[in-house]
């Protein structure tokens, strides 16, 4: 199904990356809130949900912390920072795929 659309899988991927950015930003925002449980996306599940197979809520999972803290907060800043940076790069990658596709189609339309 994804192959038939103009942007293929990248449209869905961009949406998933954007969702994941929001989740990780929420984790970072709650880095010092007692009892907060960090969450992240299962990328494969989220992508499937975005394409109509399964529910997005099922793809959101709680993080398992390397070390638990006394106040019940499971945010580990180093983990969140690396994930956030990784996700930002992946978002930009998806964007360049989309830009490439748009350029390609535009050129075909112009008959260059």
């Amino acid at each position: 199904m994804a192959g038939e659309t103009l942007f293929g899988i990248h449209g869905a991927a961009l949406s998933v990356r954007s969702q994941r950015m929001g989740l990780i930003a929420s984790n970072i925002a709650n880095a010092s809130t007692p009892g907060f449980k960090a969450r992240d996306l299962d990328f494969q599940g989220a992508l499937a949900a975005e394409q109509g197979a399964g529910r997005m809520a099922d793809a959101i999972k709680y993080r398992v912390p390397l070390q638990t803290s006394m106040d019940g907060n499971t945010v580990e800043l180093s983990q969140e920072q690396t994930d956030f940076a990784e996700n930002a790069v992946q978002y930009q990658t998806t964007l360049s795929f989309l830009t490439g596709r748009i350029t390609q189609v535009t050129r075909a339309l112009k008959g260059e």
Partner: protein, 137 residues
């Protein structure tokens, strides 16, 4: 404090920054009043701490943070016998604010780091939104 409509990633980071700023302000007040004396235990300065609470937005699945309230925490004021002090009560006692300075300094460092993290999140999100708007150009 509660905003209408779905929360955006900018609000997530922005409200977290506000919360950390409140924490920084309480830390500044605590340090400024460390060792202050008063004529009674009630009038003595007590350490202030903000209580953070997650604010979950079901529409977007994002969660940000708010300061629920500010509480007084820490040790009770230290009673000291000092009759020459003009603040002393009828028994000659003064009450000194018990502020744990090293704890406040540690809190200040943690607050600054968390604030910086949220600024970074906001910057990255802004850059990605700008890039998305330029898509295909």
């Amino acid at each position: 404090m509660r905003m209408a409509g779905p929360v955006s990633i900018f609000q997530v980071a922005g409200r977290a920054m506000s919360a950390q700023l409140v924490r920084m302000n309480t830390t500044a007040s605590n340090l400024a009043n460390s060792g202050n004396t008063a004529g009674s235990a009630e009038a003595a300065y007590k350490t202030m701490k903000p209580v953070f609470r997650t604010s979950f937005d079901a529409a977007t699945g994002l969660s940000t943070v708010d300061v629920e309230r500010i509480v007084t925490a820490g040790e009770a004021p230290t009673k000291r016998y000092d009759p020459s002090n003009p603040m002393a009560d009828k028994d000659g006692n003064i009450f000194e604010a018990a502020v744990d300075e090293s704890r406040e300094l540690v809190d200040m460092m943690e607050t600054a780091r968390t604030y910086q993290n949220n600024v970074e999140v906001m910057n990255t999100a802004k850059q990605l939104v700008v890039d998305t708007l330029k898509m295909g150009r």
